[in-house]
């Protein structure tokens, strides 16, 4: 069977499975919209959290980022896992004890203020929408390859699927669908990784293969990679950072705090049966996440090695060292169709030269070879995982499986996020603040309308992408880190933080982060508008970076501002009333946690 029909079959089969589960779970559940996950076993909840959490960014973009940034991309590996430690120890058990269903609800009650609740809703929506944009990009990439269309068409089709999946169905019983999606995505991710690791290093475990030797050479895989990339003028793989050590430190911190502050993840821990389960469930979630996250570095490194060796087939500088365009493998031509891979024969020799022409030393050397610039004018990071099985010449069913896995990752996360956005608008804003007497039916309708709005907005930004999926997603973490995490943590660990303090902290934190991001990337990521804020817009403009910290990494600074402002203001304003202080004492103790209630 050819690849195209195989892909249709595998993707079709997985979708049928999700829909089947959604229908089965819906029929079996009498619970409400908000209690889909109630009473779920910690291991099952952990697996669903894993699917919810591992997005298109994790599945599609991360290995690509690792492939092209090497050691520097460790920020994503540590950042997106280390946050679970914070979640398990600082937030999850206490929020479970509190026993409500949304994050803004906790903030509103703990800070005894509707204003605090509204501010939390706004922060939540900003972070979640930014995150959905990243998913849309991933969905667009996966669909464009799968249907062999351009990226824009892929994105529109993806939006349609997300619409059907999240808005019309899949709301109840989402947990069970996500368990199935986890199985599909982890299988799709690890199978090619095992094959590739075997082919390159002879070790079936990618985690060990990455530290192994290239088959038959006695040179370690990583040393070999370092050699291959530096020879063509690229940065050293195992030691180069993306923008310096300080940026790496702050970026990692931002992603960790942001992970712990993202509402669609936190909500998962509200619905396990006990406080003790909330702690354990975070551990299980991380186990399931770690399976992918410890495989990703091997996928990234091996994909990079394969890519380099596909193009640079022999010695650097010799004519035969570069592959002729006529001889490139089929995957190369497949990806050219999507526009995400571009080749331009600058020196007209019919061969491909792929090297770093920004490196002056390499550029000089290249000139002596008769090379006229890097001819791979575009190699989108996001294609690495999807192209990987093709590059490694794995059977078609593996390629098809990876497409299905990428879609599973993007869909499960998009659904979780859209649910968080919908509940913030319908439950917190409408029912909680503006229209307490709203009927159940209208509340649900408002939630669905909110989802549609979010999909359209995210689709629009997916067509004007501010960066590759993980880059966009990173900003979402910055926003969550700067606003929600500090408010939650102070709500639990600081008895004396009152409403004014918390509100000013949240506004200052998210404000300074957004200002910094917009100043460097344009208002709502439209580059031409950055000068309005005194910034320069283009990503390459690094002169104005505060201590060399990239905009994506800035959330941790925003969080520090949030903490500092809130603590300072709390010194001058009234402490919380007696009953709130008792509430805080009460959530610190596991005993007495009833089942979570909706209102």
């Amino acid at each position: 069977m050819d690849l195209q029909s195989m892909t249709y079959m595998v993707v079709g089969a997985t979708f049928a499975l999700y829909i089947g589960i959604a229908i089965w779970a819906r029929a079996a559940t009498t619970g409400e919209f908000y209690v889909a996950g109630k009473g779920v076993h910690p291991v099952a909840n952990g697996m669903a959290t894993g699917a919810d959490w591992m997005s298109a960014a994790s599945f599609i973009s991360m290995a690509g980022l690792i492939a092209f940034n090497g050691y520097g991309a460790s920020v994503f590996l540590m950042g997106w896992t280390g946050g679970y430690v914070l979640l398990a120890m600082l937030l999850a058990p206490y929020l479970r004890k509190f026993g409500k269903f949304t994050v803004p609800e906790f903030i509103g009650d703990r800070y005894y203020s509707q204003t605090a609740r509204i501010v939390a809703v706004v922060c939540l929506i900003l972070a979640s929408i930014t995150y959905v944009i990243g998913q849309m990009k991933g969905i667009g990439v996966a669909f464009s390859r799968f249907l062999e269309t351009d990226y824009d068409t892929g994105l529109f089709i993806g939006m349609g699927i997300v619409f059907f999946y999240s808005v019309l169905g899949g709301m109840k019983g989402i947990t069970y669908t996500q368990i199935a999606q986890y199985v599909v995505l982890i299988f799709a991710y690890t199978v090619p990784a095992v094959f590739i690791s075997l082919a390159i290093t002879g070790n079936p475990l990618p985690q060990l293969g990455l530290g192994g030797d290239v088959v038959g050479s006695g040179v370690s895989m990583l040393d070999k990679l370092d050699m291959v990339v530096t020879e063509l003028g690229f940065k050293d793989y195992t030691t180069s950072t993306m923008a310096g050590k300080l940026d790496m430190f702050v970026y990692t911190l931002t992603l960790m705090i942001g992970t712990a502050g993202l509402p669609h993840v936190i909500v998962r821990f509200f619905t396990v049966p006990k406080v003790a389960d909330a702690r354990k469930s975070a551990g299980w979630a991380l186990v399931f996440i770690a399976i992918l996250y410890t495989t990703a570095p091997a996928v990234g490194a091996m994909a990079r090695l394969n890519l380099m060796q596909t193009i640079q087939v022999g010695e650097v500088g010799s004519v035969e060292g570069n592959v002729t365009y006529a001889d490139v493998p089929q995957w190369f031509k497949n990806w050219e169709k999507t526009g995400l891979l571009k080749y331009e024969d600058k020196n007209g020799d019919g061969r491909i030269q792929y090297y770093n022409d920004k490196n002056p030393e390499m550029a000089a050397k290249a000139e002596s070879f008769g090379w006229k610039g890097n001819e791979m004018t575009k190699v989108d990071n996001d294609i690495m995982v999807l192209a990987n099985p093709e590059i490694a010449q794995l059977p078609n069913w593996v390629v098809a499986l990876v497409v299905a896995g990428g879609l599973a990752a993007a869909l499960s996360t998009a659904a979780g996020l859209l649910l968080a956005i919908a509940s913030a608008i319908s439950h917190d804003l409408l029912k909680g603040v503006f229209k307490p007497d709203i009927s159940e039916k209208n509340e649900l309708m408002a939630g669905r309308i909110a989802m549609v709005g979010a999909i359209l907005l995210a689709g629009y930004f997916g067509l004007h992408p501010p960066g590759f999926a993980a880059g966009t997603v990173a900003i979402a973490f910055g926003l969550a880190a700067a606003s929600i995490f500090p408010a939650l943590m102070m709500g639990i660990f600081g008895k004396k933080i009152g409403s004014t303090a918390a509100i000013s902290g949240m506004i200052a934190g998210i404000g300074v982060t957004m200002l910094y991001v917009f100043q460097h990337k344009g208002i709502m990521f439209i580059p031409d508008t950055a000068h309005l804020l005194g910034g320069a817009g283009s990503e390459g403009f690094k002169a104005n970076w505060f201590f060399g910290i990239s905009p994506n990494a800035f959330g941790a600074i925003g969080a520090a501002v949030n903490f500092a402002v809130a603590i300072a203001v709390s010194k001058f304003t009234a402490p919380p009333p007696e009953h709130i202080q008792h509430l805080v004492e009460d959530i610190r103790i596991p005993r007495g946690a009833g089942t979570a209630t909706g209102h």
Binding site: I66, Y71, S74, L77, M78, T81, G82, Y84, V85, A88, M89, L90, P93, Q207, L208, L210, G211, G212, D213, S220, M221, L222, D223, T238, T239, K245, M248, F249, T252, L253, K274, V275, A276, R279, K280, A282, G283, L286, V287, A290, Y293, T294, P297, E585, R588, I589, P590, R591, G592, A593
Partner: protein
């Protein structure tokens, strides 16, 4: 011990455990994986440079172990101070 005293003691014990865990969390990722990566890279385990290994593999394994350790120890504390559920 009266109830408020017990609650305060429980909270203090929790904070102590929490601090130990967070120190380890910080050391394996920010310490070994970032700040001390260069000197550690001089040590090789298999084909891995140690600093690189901590940044891309080791820290994640430690995170998983830490959460389960914390969950276990907190379970013990819950019972010791008689604040556990059921």
């Amino acid at each position: 011990m009266s109830t408020p005293d017990k609650a305060a003691a429980y909270w203090k014990a929790n904070l102590r455990l929490l601090s130990i865990c967070l120190v380890i969390w910080f050391v394996v990722s920010y310490g070994f994986g970032i700040l001390l990566a260069e000197p550690l890279n001089a040590i090789q385990i298999g084909g891995y440079k140690l600093g690189f290994w901590f940044a891309q593999q080791g820290s994640i394994y430690v995170f998983v172990a830490l959460i389960f350790y914390y969950a276990k120890k907190m379970g013990d504390l819950d019972r010791q101070y008689d604040v556990h559920e059921d």
